[in-house]
Subunit: 146 residues, 2 copies
DNA sequence: GCCGTTATTGAGATTCTATATCATCTATTT
DNA sequence: AAATAGATGATATAGAATCTCAATAACGGC
């Protein structure tokens, strides 16, 4: 499946009557070229640095479509704006964040599918996903708090 | 403890060398007068409607202090901006959100303290909190998706 | 392959959230 | 009461994200 993201996105677009364009391809490839968290402006900057002149408007528009398609997820707000990560081809994971150095550790916990199942049953919900952020202080930053 | 929030906030301010002012009192009282989620502009509007002329700047500043003190929590981003709730005097809870009607159901799950404990042990973290959002489609909105 | 329809693009303007500035004011200490 | 230092509010500013609209290009039909 990894590497398939382009076909998945093209299918998603086709199914919605939207078009596959060089700009969307450039954004998609840039998003899947790195494995770290990013924001819209950074994505725009990296594309320009590569010589791919995709406008800011198209970057934001494509990012919205990528989130809608499920290939990319909104991860957290930091410095007043959203940060993203690509999720297609990766096992679902959550984030442990240090309040001191802002380091982010990804983790998986087997309890979460069970939490989802309990909620679905208790509230007649069709649960499609979750976002868990755990925060605290890493060993190195302990003591800096307060 | 409920009703104590004013004293807790005053202590928090004193300990930081900050001052207790009529504006901060007005904001605190408004925040604890309702049990629903709110955003900064709504809080500002409600204060003005009550005839309490607290400036937008002071509303934002006080909200920041309330979050810092732990009396109020950032809950989620919707419509491009942060939403809050007061948490002092309430058991910690998480949010189940319907992607259709945007209804929010609060829930508690006993698995989360265990998740926190596992993370603390595995990564030498001093965990101070977590934020879990589960999303999906409620019974009434099922079928509206896609 | 060409044509027509219609989504897409990009530059710039706009909207909106949130913070910064700074002169004035006020809580608190001595 | 005077001095110190934090707080307030009107306004300006920064920044994120969206909207506008004319020009362009993707895609389906022929």
């Amino acid at each position: 499946m990894p590497g398939d993201e382009e076909q998945v996105f093209r299918d998603f677009l086709a199914q919605k009557g939207r078009r596959w364009t060089p700009e969307r391809q450039a954004v998609l490839r840039e998003v899947f070229a790195h494995h770290d968290h990013f924001d819209a402006e950074e994505l725009h900057r990296r594309l320009r640095e590569r010589g791919l002149a995709v406008s800011r408007a198209s970057v934001y528009r494509t990012l919205g479509l990528l989130v809608e398609s499920g290939l990319v997820a909104e991860v957290f707000v930091e410095d007043g704006h959203m940060h993203y990560e690509h999720v297609y081809g990766h096992e679902h994971h959550c984030h442990l964040r240090c309040l001191g150095c802002r380091r982010i550790i990804e983790f998986r916990d087997e309890a979460l599918p069970q939490v989802e199942a309990r909620l679905a049953a208790a509230h007649q919900f069709q649960v499609t996903g979750h976002k868990l952020e755990v925060y605290g202080w890493c060993a190195a930053c302990r003591g800096k708090q307060g």
